[in-house]
């Protein structure tokens, strides 16, 4: 089984608020460090990657953000127009400018998702359909939050079943096959060590299994360090009761909070490990005033070390 960064397409999914985009970006930095030409694709008109690197760019434009690393923000409308232009020549031009067709396409259940994932598929191909576009070694997709994230992976298959014949069905089947090919595609989940994200991750694993897809790795973000031992808690509590200044009291309170949170996190991590039956990659909480380029590189270091450990364990 190829390592995570040896695939051509990696979907990064997970509940909202767990730092999914940050992990997707850091994964991109790691891939670029290893000499890969990588693009991080964002969906639904988000542009967090461009923001993180302070770059400007148009929607649907492949923008370089650092050495070997690019980003694109995919919207269904642009994906549809490109598809029509490339696939159907002059007729496509007519359709592309037809508001009726656009309305139909956009309103058809699942069509927006199919168009979006169609573009993702195109980015990962050895031969690009988009004229003048370069080939990527790796496409990382910052997928929508879990429920929708799984939905977008399912869409090609669903569409192929509904449409059955015609170019769209054919395209959908091709994309579905690519997603299901473990040599080509990986799906990873980002979580935090909290109840809801852990529930979501376990749910995601089950939902993917229903479609015969595997959850290739789980990355737990924002892990508190184990700073204080259980045996020290009583001492800290006593000291807080005795505290003469509010500042000292606050410091001791913060210490006790940290201890409580770290403990709660450990419980959730255990639950996740038990539920998954596989290893986890833990990333530390970054105590910094902002999550800027330096912090992203730090996370990339963490991913590097973590992946090495995960991938050294035989499946």
């Amino acid at each position: 089984m190829p390592g995570l960064l040896q695939r051509r397409l990696v979907f990064v999914t997970g509940k909202g608020g767990v730092g999914k985009s940050t992990v997707a970006i850091s994964l991109g930095l790691l891939a670029a460090r290893r000499g890969l030409r990588v693009i991080v694709a964002e969906l639904a008109s988000q542009d967090r990657v461009r923001q993180a690197f302070d770059r400007s760019g148009e929607i649907f434009e492949e923008v370089q953000v650092s050495d070997g690393m690019f980003t694109i923000s995919i919207d269904p409308q642009s994906a549809m127009e490109e598809y029509l232009r490339v696939k159907t020549g002059s007729v496509g031009q007519v359709l592309g400018s037809s508001r009726l067709f656009a309305a139909f396409a956009m309103a058809t259940p699942g069509m927006r998702e199919l168009l979006t994932i169609g573009k993702v598929w195109e980015l990962a191909q050895f031969e690009r359909r988009t004229s003048g576009a370069g080939v990527y070694d790796l496409v990382i997709v910052d997928s929508p939050a879990a429920g929708h994230g799984v939905g977008i992976l399912r869409t090609p298959r669903t569409f192929a079943e509904i449409a059955r014949v015609g170019p769209i069905a054919h395209q959908a089947r091709t994309i579905a096959a690519t997603i299901a090919d473990p040599e080509f595609t990986a799906v990873i989940a980002v979580s935090t060590a909290e109840e809801m994200p852990v529930n979501e991750t376990l749910w995601l694993r089950d939902a993917l299994a229903q479609d015969e897809l595997a959850l290739d790795a789980v990355i737990v973000n924002g892990c508190y360090p184990e700073r204080f031992r259980d045996a020290e808690r009583k001492r800290l509590e006593a000291a807080r009761r005795r505290a003469k200044s509010p500042l000292v009291g606050a410091a001791l309170g913060a210490a006790l909070s940290e201890h409580a949170r770290a403990q709660a996190q450990r419980e959730q991590l255990a639950r996740l490990r038990d539920g998954l039956g596989t290893g986890l990659l833990e990333l530390p909480l970054l105590f910094s005033e902002e999550v800027g380029p330096a912090e992203l590189e730090q996370l990339a270091d963490g991913l590097d070390a973590g992946l090495a450990t995960l991938e050294s364990v035989p499946v």
């Binding site: 977008i152 509904i162 170019p167 700073r227 020290e232 913060a254």
Partner: protein, 381 residues
């Protein structure tokens, strides 16, 4: 800093919007709890509550109607309720089916429609069905008029604005605007497509696949004149959402991405002329240190072993960095909100998974300024 009860004075509908992972469900439930405590008969419609919280509130997956949270259960958690707290978990598929049942000309038509492949995909899949049914359910409950206040948790969409967009998109689709030109209520879609007079229709057939269009035509044939009902409903829902008795509360965390979403959401509310009532920010790290230097902290902790004291000081410094990060993000949010104050809830030590947890959040949301200061001092120190 306002109390939530002030923000919701005179309101009958409260919609809690915001991006995923910010604590919307918890906040919605805590608001409902607080308003019920003050005497109102409140129903909270949750979308995707955590199992433990759902159990604590007695939410049943099998029901699609509000159920009263037993007062005894609340009393046990230390809450004295003057009013009533009701709660439910939204089932989008069921809500959709119920809507069809209500609107269809007869049960047979309803059944045919519910078996149609396009309908099944539409009522369960990604295309905004959660958002659509959340609003539909809210509308039903509002029309029934059984409650003083309805609080709606919104789906964890990839972006908060989805909640405002998706119902409209879905309604447009159901209204058949896109296909009105070539699907007649009495005709079968294929007959119309078979004529294929214009190159457009031919290309459409070629590109999208005959079967898909056939299914869609059947779907619309079945919907028939129900599409007018959807339009009518959509108009009524719009009236409910823009009413002076409706309030949109923004829920966010201090994370940069959540705040970006909140700002976008606020602007969209403005543009759509939807009534914005306030912002609640969860999981805030309060800056206790400010500009003070923690250097002598270690010596002030003299009665602790040196190593432990050093770790306490290091932890405090780290916490302070997080507080400053939050502060910067909040400043950006405040700038957007102008003179409208933000309602801050501190980062609590554990997830909210029971009524006691809801109570803890509720205290912040309903506290006076004095009470809130005292609460925060307790949390941090």
């Amino acid at each position: 800093m306002p109390r939530v009860s002030e923000l919701l004075e005179g309101k009958r509908v409260c919609v809690c919007g915001g991006s995923g992972g910010v604590g919307k469900t918890t906040t919605s439930a805590a608001i409902a709890l607080g308003m019920a405590a003050e005497g109102a008969k409140v129903a909270v419609v949750t979308i995707d509550p955590a199992k433990r919280l759902a159990n604590a509130l007695g939410l049943q997956e099998l029901e699609n109607e509000p159920r009263r949270v037993p007062p005894a259960r609340l009393a046990k958690a230390g809450v004295e309720i003057q009013g009533e707290l009701w709660a439910m978990m939204l089932d989008p598929k069921r809500t959709f089916d119920e809507l069809i049942d209500r609107i269809a000309a007869d049960p047979q038509r309803a059944q045919e429609l519910k078996s149609n492949r396009v309908y099944r995909e539409l009522s369960t899949a990604v295309s905004g069905s959660q958002e659509f049914t959340a609003v539909a359910k809210l509308y039903e409950l509002d029309r029934d008029g059984d409650f003083d206040l309805l609080v709606l948790d919104t789906p964890p969409s990839r972006n908060a604005v989805d909640f405002l967009d998706a119902p409209g998109r879905l309604t447009s689709f159901l209204e058949g605007r896109a296909l009105k030109t070539f699907v007649r209520p009495t005709g079968i879609g294929m007959r119309v497509l078979g004529r294929g007079a214009s190159p457009l229709l031919g290309a459409l057939r070629r590109i999208t696949g005959v079967d898909l269009l056939s299914d869609l035509s059947t779907f619309f044939a079945l919907l028939g004149d129900m599409t007018e009902d959807f339009s009518e409903r959509a108009a009524q829902v719009q009236r409910m959402l823009t009413a002076s008795t409706t309030a949109f509360l923004l829920v966010t965390s201090a994370q940069r991405s959540a705040i970006d979403e909140a700002i976008w959401f606020r602007r969209t509310l403005s543009e759509s002329e939807l009534p914005f009532a306030g912002v609640i920010v969860n999981r805030v790290h309060h800056d206790v240190l400010g500009d003070a230097e923690p250097d002598d902290l270690v010596s002030s902790l003299g009665d602790l072993p040196a190593d432990l004291a050093a770790r306490v000081a290091e932890n405090f410094t780290d916490y302070h960095l997080l507080a400053r990060r939050d502060g910067r993000n909040l400043a950006r949010l405040q700038a957007e909100m102008g003179d409208r104050p933000l309602l801050l809830v501190p980062h609590l030590d554990d997830d909210v998974h029971d009524i006691e947890g809801l109570l803890a959040v509720k205290r912040y949301l309903f506290a006076s300024d004095v009470e809130r200061e005292r609460l925060i001092a307790d949390v941090v120190a």
